[in-house]
């Protein structure tokens, strides 16, 4: 049973990204109004905006949280060609009593010559690492050698994907059997340039990232990409937002550990849905990777779920404004029951 309610966001322009922290108690939003907001969940489950500040000199595309063991750290990327690492500082003023928190800029990463389109922290077990990708087709991996000093980041790797990058996703698997892996999507719409999703894998021997796979069947512009939380599974699942929602399964083929060649994968398409009519903008997995949410040009949020046979089907649809889609069998509530979704406007 899902109930949608609206939150007074008070951004002056389009919101481009929302991001939850590890515990789901904090949230960050970023917008074309060049600002970011941080929200904390109050005791009554309401979201309170505890910080709002101007961050970049252009639209802010994405915002993402670091794992809390590195502190309260956010990263943002923008049209202004930079990515910025932010840290919350406490105790300096009486802000806390007013319910406000203070975020300061720890570093600005200025290596890109073009708009930085995505920013993601690497999985926690790899240490504090930050990845950016930009419209000029370069993926950059930074590392903070000293997690106590977030103003120092060194550029560890530069991967050139040759195509304008729009999104990146780290494989979250912490299993030692899986080498660090990152998937990069390109929004280049020229179908003749071939596969728009490239997967790079870290090689322990060469200490470099090498291309392990290109998903040749994805030839249209890719807008979002998301590895599913691995949760101890023996394979990887990748969701792609392109002109349809696509779910790929990557089964690593066994290899001898001494070889320096990248892992080979058996790639299967688990599902392909064009019910968003044309472009799909975002995909997101839940924590157990059993539910996938997608949004697209039809202005709807759709939820997908697999049955035990690995057959994926739509279990819920909600319009972008939160209203239920009339006449749809099993609207969003369909995931868990039969109640209808409803809107409760939250007054501030």
């Amino acid at each position: 049973m899902f109930v949608a309610r609206s939150i007074a966001a008070d951004h002056k322009d389009l919101i481009h990204d929302v991001s939850y922290d590890f515990h789901g108690r904090r949230m960050a939003t970023c917008s074309s109004d060049q600002s970011m907001k941080v929200w904390d969940k109050g005791g009554n489950a309401e979201w309170n905006c505890t910080a709002s500040w101007k961050t970049h000199s252009g639209s802010v595309w994405r915002v993402t949280w670091a794992h809390p063991e590195f502190g309260q750290v956010l990263a943002s990327c923008s049209f202004d060609r930079t990515a910025i690492v932010w840290e919350e500082i406490v105790g300096e003023s009486n802000d806390k009593q007013r319910g406000q928190s203070h975020w300061i800029k720890r570093t600005t990463l200025v290596d890109s010559r073009t708009s930085v389109t995505d920013v993601k922290f690497a999985p926690k077990h790899m240490g504090l690492m930050l990845t950016t990708c930009s419209a000029d087709g370069v993926v950059r991996i930074y590392e903070a050698p000293d997690v106590m000093n977030l103003s120092q980041w060194s550029l560890q790797h530069e991967i050139s994907s040759k195509l304008s990058c729009s999104c990146i996703s780290w494989n979250p698997s912490s299993s030692r059997a899986h080498a660090p892996m990152i998937a990069v999507g390109s929004d280049d719409s020229n179908v003749t340039y071939g596969g728009k999703v490239q997967i790079y894998e870290y090689n322990e021997v060469t200490r470099k990232y090498a291309k392990a796979e290109t998903l040749m069947t994805v030839t249209d512009a890719v807008h979002d990409i998301a590895f599913a939380p691995n949760l101890g599974r023996s394979f990887h699942v990748l969701a792609i937002a392109t002109k349809d929602v696509r779910i790929f399964k990557l089964v690593p083929l066994r290899k001898d550990s001494s070889s320096s060649a990248p892992t080979k994968f058996e790639v299967q398409v688990l599902a392909q849905f064009d019910s968003h009519n044309s472009q799909v903008w975002r995909v997101s997995w839940n924590i157990t990777s059993t539910l996938l949410a997608s949004s697209g040009d039809d202005g709807c949020v759709r939820l997908w779920k697999a049955n035990y046979m690995d057959n994926w089907k739509c279990t819920g649809i909600l319009k972008g404004d939160g209203s239920p889609v009339s006449g749809q069998p099993g609207a969003l509530s369909g995931i868990l029951g039969s109640a209808t979704a409803q809107i409760i406007a939250q007054k501030h």
Binding site: A8, H11, Y20, P68, H223, S278, L291, D297, D298, L318
Partner: protein
């Protein structure tokens, strides 16, 4: 009129709910909510929510080429129509009693030479000015600017006028334009510049775009370009203009008019309409011929003026407003955000809103947040009851199970399946299997001591291995109990086979091989058919019949069971009897699997029990027990192997009975985790493995880590801690070392008593005041050098002094929960300090101080100790 004429669409500039469709005639529609009382029965549905009502039709002006709506409020429904012969006619829709309107309607503006009128535009400021763009006629002017208020000219030559339409009063004809522009050229498109209403942008046939200033018509700025089929000014950036030609759109900055700022990717088909969105900055919609797609170009992130070095980012989108049908034209709604009406060649209309890109994210607790435009929506999972458990997501299930202490019942292990909700047959089977395994192993431990450690590990290695090690099988032919007839059914016995039966739960542990207690428990649970089948397999027909009778007479019993009992009682081992014949054919119609296998057993040849062994609706444990009784040493391992592989393939937890907690079992669990993501069950199951060998498997470690991570993300920290304790019993290596030592200021040694005694077994906390062993030195001093410990910043006692339980703020009476209070009182004695200013004291005192203060209690210390940590402010969600 040619039937190929495609309808165009035009919104009223002032009425947000009205628009005009023009093809051969002008039709005025009003748009309203569908199904409301306002909209009549004849309303055309435009979308799920809206419908249009036809208000008026005007077919006075044939040969329409272009239409423009008068921009002023009054008169409201005045339209200018450009015709194929170049005339511009003013007409109106609906009844307007406005005198000014009456005066204007029917007025005609006639060019000197008849040619097609391509475009019309009202001046946005001086609304009397109407610009008309015409085709080329020799050296004549192609742009005529009419003043609609001008008096009709008496010298109009009626002879020159080709009467195309009915009875237009020749008295209303105007032939003298206010301005004439664009000599020796054709005008395909034109628009007034909003920045300066005296300026006009023309797109001419001579491959140029030209800006004319009416104050000085001889001067013009122009640029050569092919993109002249249409021009339109961005309402939000008045210097930004889009013009198009064939499939290409060029974007211009009027301040740098030499060349287009950029061109959009070319479309394969020619464009028919290009329009800026009036409600959203930098959004351009384009339509190509015979297409069902409207392409949108989002230039929001293109800075104006365009810097030379900045590449424009244009986000291209395409929308399909009416699925497969072709779009003839579209029009943006003047005020509703991103809304448009589209019309198809056969006049089917569609109300459509272009959605902003929605970004979304899941939280760890299965709440979905998305941003649509400037708005945020959260869709939280409601912990509603009455939701079918099978439909719940595994994340929800794991959370609920963690809260009900699933996996933690180590005494009655089978009960864990009840803690898990009790509705999953696989979990039920798994926990019963684990229960029997632990049960048997405890028994062998107690009774047979360590002599048979071999057997001990055998129990954990599953029936597959037990059966393989089987030796000394004996064969018996028992009588049907209650009859003295010899059966020809051979039954096999061996020590290993009875162990397998024990693990299946059919017989109790020890030498006792009586199946009766098992039957009793099945009867209690109302599993009549299963009990009857088990009785029958133990060759006790009488007991089976008795069970069935009981089942029929029980509450909510199935009376059919009596019929089955009757059929059963007629059993004969005569090979060719009618009973046998009927049973073997009719049993296939039985719905209940256990009844089915009973008759399958009775009618099978000895040793050929496939109908029983491969009846997949029967629990694996019953089939395996059956196999252990009736399959010989050659058949049994083959069957068990086959079944094991099947279970491993499917990730079916019932198969743990066969694989035990071995590598095979981990393989099976791996495919279960791959299928379900249920790392919780996987972790708890593997933690039951006694030798702990399976725990060393990296996959198992990975599941455990993932499960702990889930608990952390859900803030089930208490559950995680309990899980760790549970785990450390089996896997001592997982125990963390002491985390913090406090050393004495004077001697530098650790001041912890427990730590000094047992350096590596402390719980990691330095606890004072409660370790009151009388032989030790005073608790308020360092055990190494006997110097006193620091003082509490609040009570100024040396640390280690038991603190009074009254927190000093007089709130003691408010506390109702005494037991909880007592627990806290112990904690009150702990020494705490701020890591920043390194002032501290008794935990209880510090807590009560910081309830009302934010600064450190030590004088002149301004440290805001309580606000230094954000993670610490998070409360675990599993505490009461």
């Amino acid at each position: 009129m040619s039937s190929g004429y495609k309808p165009d669409i035009l919104w009223s500039p002032h009425h947000a709910d009205r628009y005009v469709i023009c093809d051969t005639e002008l039709s005025l529609y009003r748009i309203g909510p569908a199904g409301s009382s306002e909209t009549k029965a004849g309303a055309l549905p435009l979308s799920e929510e809206t419908a249009a009502t036809l208000l008026a039709i005007n077919s006075d002006t044939p040969y329409m080429k272009c239409v423009a709506w008068y921009p002023k409020h009054e008169p409201e429904c005045l339209l200018a129509v450009g015709q194929a012969n170049g005339r511009v006619v003013l007409t109106s829709l609906g009844q307007s009693h406005n005198s000014k309107c009456k005066e204007l309607v029917g007025k005609e503006f006639v060019p000197k030479h008849a040619r097609q009128c391509n475009t019309l535009a009202w001046n946005p400021v001086d609304s009397n000015w109407l610009a008309a763009g015409l085709d080329k006629h020799r050296a004549d002017f192609s742009v005529l600017i009419w003043d609609i208020s001008s008096k009709f000219s008496p010298e109009a030559v009626p002879a020159e006028k080709v009467r195309l339409s009915g009875d237009v009063d020749s008295g209303l004809v105007v032939t003298k334009p206010l301005y004439e522009l664009g000599q020796n050229d054709a005008c395909l498109s034109l628009c007034w510049l909003p920045r300066d209403h005296q300026k006009l942008l023309l797109a001419g046939m001579h491959r140029n775009l030209a800006i004319f200033d009416l104050r000085n018509t001889s001067q013009k700025t122009f640029v050569n370009t092919k993109a002249i089929q249409g021009v339109t000014v961005d309402p939000h950036f008045q210097d930004r203009v889009a013009s198009f030609f064939e499939g290409q759109v060029a974007i211009w900055d009027l301040r740098k008019f030499e060349k287009p700022v950029f061109t959009l990717t070319e479309q394969p088909k020619p464009l028919t309409k290009v329009a800026w969105c009036p409600t959203r900055m930098g959004l351009l919609a384009t339509l190509t011929r015979d297409s069902n797609i409207i392409r949108l170009y989002d230039m929001q992130h293109t800075p104006m003026p365009f810097g030379d070095e900045v590449e424009p980012t244009i986000i291209e989108r395409s929308v399909q407003p009416c699925s497969e049908s072709i779009i003839s034209s579209f029009a943006w709604h003047p005020s509703a955000q991103n809304r448009m009406v589209v019309v198809s060649p056969n006049r089917v209309m569609n109300d459509f809103t272009v959605f902003e890109r929605i970004s979304l994210a899941w939280s760890s607790t299965t709440a979905l947040m998305w941003a649509c435009g400037r708005h945020l929506y959260e869709c939280a999972e409601d912990a509603g009851q009455g939701v079918a458990a099978t439909e719940k997501d595994i994340a929800t299930k794991m959370r609920e199970r963690a809260q009900s202490h699933y996996g933690h019942d180590t005494v009655q292990v089978w009960r864990n399946h009840v803690l898990a909700g009790g509705d999953d047959p696989q979990l039920r089977s798994l926990w019963y299997t684990l229960h029997y395994i632990l049960h048997c192993s405890q028994y062998t431990e107690n009774v047979e001591q360590k002599q048979q450690s071999n057997k001990q590990s055998l129990i954990y290695s599953g029936i597959k291995n037990i059966v393989k090690s089987s030796s000394g099988t004996t064969e018996t032919r028992r009588c049907w109990s209650g009859s003295d007839r010899q059966t020809d059914v051979p039954r096999y016995h061996s020590e290993e086979r009875s162990l397998a039966l024990q693990l299946c739960g059919w017989i109790g542990r020890g030498p006792d091989i009586d199946v009766e207690p098992f039957l009793k428990s099945l009867e209690q649970e109302g599993e009549w058919e299963r009990a009857a089948a088990v009785a029958l397999f133990n060759l006790d027909i009488r007991r089976a019949i008795q069970i069935l009778n009981k089942g029929a007479s029980a509450e909510k019993g199935d009376l059919n069971l009596n019929v089955v009992a009757m059929a059963l009682s007629g059993y004969t081992d005569e090979k060719n009897s009618l009973w046998r014949e009927m049973c073997s054919s009719l049993r296939l119609q039985l719905k209940k699997p256990y009844l089915c296998i009973m008759f399958a057993f009775l009618t099978s040849e000895p040793g050929a029990y496939d109908a029983v062994l491969y009846e997949s609706r029967v629990a694996v444990r019953d089939r395996v027990a059956f196999a252990c009784m009736f399959l010989n040493d050659a058949q049994l391992p083959r069957y068990i192997d086959k079944l094991t592989n099947e279970m491993k393939e499917a990730g079916n937890l019932e198969g743990i009975l066969l694989t035990g907690l071995t590598k095979d079992g981990v393989d099976l669990m791996e495919s279960y985790v791959d299928r379900t993501g249920d790392v919780q069950t996987a972790s708890f199951c593997m933690l039951k493995g006694s030798p702990g060998e399976v725990l060393k498997d990296p996959r198992v470690q990975c599941w455990i880590e993932n499960y702990r991570n889930l608990l952390d993300a859900w803030r089930f920290w208490h559950k995680r801690a309990e899980f760790d304790i549970h785990r450390s019993k089996l896997d001592p290596s997982s125990k963390p070392l002491p985390q913090v030592f406090v050393s004495c200021n004077f001697c530098g040694k650790s001041i912890s008593y427990s730590c000094s005694a047992m350096p590596h077994q402390g719980r990691g906390f330095s606890q004072y005041g409660v370790s009151g062993s009388p032989t030790k030195s005073k608790v308020t001093s360092c055990p190494g050098c006997r110097k006193p410990l620091p003082r509490c910043a609040l009570c100024l006692m040396n640390m280690g002094t038991p603190v009074s339980s009254c927190p000093g703020t007089g709130k003691a009476n408010e506390k109702a929960d005494l037991t909880r209070d007592k627990k806290l009182a112990q904690f009150n004695n702990w020494f705490t300090w701020c890591h920043n200013c390194r002032h501290g004291g008794h935990a209880g005192h510090m807590l009560s101080w910081f309830r009302d203060h934010s600064e450190c209690p030590v004088s002149a210390c301004t440290c805001k100790c309580m606000q230094l940590d954000t993670t610490g402010n998070l409360v675990p969600s599993d505490s009461v």
